[in-house]
């Protein structure tokens, strides 16, 4: 129902104007600010582009580690955090490997939005 281009398309177009049209004319002292704005827009664009199903899938894997399949995202992360802190997912426990895989997927998911360069390393 919404007009196009939407969120992602507008951000991309605006970011291009910033980098190609504005940045070359900014004084050296303002370059850093402009690059920060461009970075913020790129993060927002990646955030907007994540398929909800990807996020739901990772959350569900993490949910599976919690004893009562905690409901909300916040509850899953909170219960998992507590379990980790209490040692219930320590090396040597049944589900340690699965937990580490889940945390790795969570880390990669977050990095894909915030700083995808680190995924290549």
């Amino acid at each position: 129902m919404r007009e196009q281009p939407g969120y992602a398309g507008l951000l991309a177009a605006a970011r291009n104007v910033l980098l190609e049209t504005l940045l070359p004319h900014l004084p050296q002292s303002r370059r850093y600010d402009a690059l920060m704005v461009a970075n913020a827009m790129a993060i927002a664009m990646r955030d907007a582009a994540i398929p909800p199903s990807d996020e739901a899938e990772i959350l569900d894997r993490l949910r599976g580690l919690t004893p009562d399949r905690a409901e909300s995202e916040r509850a899953v992360l909170a219960v998992l955090s507590l379990m980790v802190r209490d040692g219930r997912l320590d090396p040597g426990t049944d589900r340690h490997g699965e937990a580490m895989d889940g945390l790795r997927d969570l880390a990669r998911f977050r990095a894909a939005i915030s700083n995808p360069k680190v995924l290549g390393r």
Partner: protein, 339 residues
Amino acid sequence: MDDGQRARLTRWLANATMAASLTIGASKRLSGGAIQQNWALDVSVLGGAFAGAQHWVLRTDNPSAVSVSHSRMEEFALLRAASTAGVTVPEALFECRDATVIGHPFFVMRRVDGITQGFRVVKSDTLGGGREALATSLGQELARIHSIRPPSSSALSFLTPPSAAGPANDLIAFYRSRLDAGRMPRPILEWGLRWLELNAPPTGDIVLCHRDFRTGNFLVTEEKVTGILDWEFAGWGDPLEDIGWFCAPCWRFGNVNMEAGGTGSREAFYRGYEAESGRVIDRARVAYWEVMATVRWAIIAIDQAERHISGAEANLELALTGHIVPELEMNVLAMTVAA
């Protein structure tokens, strides 16, 4: 600085220098940390021990100063203690506890030549006498900092000694309390802290740790290191905490192959440290403290983003600092989970 501040500061400095008269010529706000304000002052002094043209830095608090860092008075005492131990620091000249002069307590130190910017330092092949020479000198400086041991002079009595649990466990407990105060649960950082708890080393030496000894916090010229800066987090701890912070991958400003803070080789840094201290660095144990460093930086980054998110300080740079955390989480996992 407004006219009132300038006038009061002029009078205060004239008193402090016992000058017949004193004029503040130029004053310029220096780009500083998030916690303090630094002002470059060019001062003309008539009479007294400081007669002549003086180039100073005045250091005071930002209005939004964070409580975990030391007061300016404490930082002044740390600079003095460091200088006595032979650490290269700007000379700390005067301290002012009276908040009515410019609005906050402050101190004045001599201005020192050099650059600090991390990205510039790590790109240079020549600063500090060259990469290996720079890394070696930084090792020497850190060793001198670590020569300061408790109990020390009463001037440093404000520093909290580690508890019976030891410095590693104290830090773990503190970082857990920071996560508890945060707005989002953080299972990956919790794992980092659990790993640190499970692998905590026995308590060894307790020394003065700078706690932010890294590229970006020292001044360097083409010839040498000219000042170790930013002492507001210093405290008693395990010397490897500082070594881990300096060598951690997250503090190389992108120059990942130069393991000594993006400057030179780790071995050159260790050589400088070992030669100056007369002690050998337990190389295997440094890896533990690099994990500690990565978790700590993540928690600081979360706090900085929170200042923006909470509305306390709307600032894009703070907001973007939160987005450093995912990379740090990946580092933590890489360092703590067998592939």
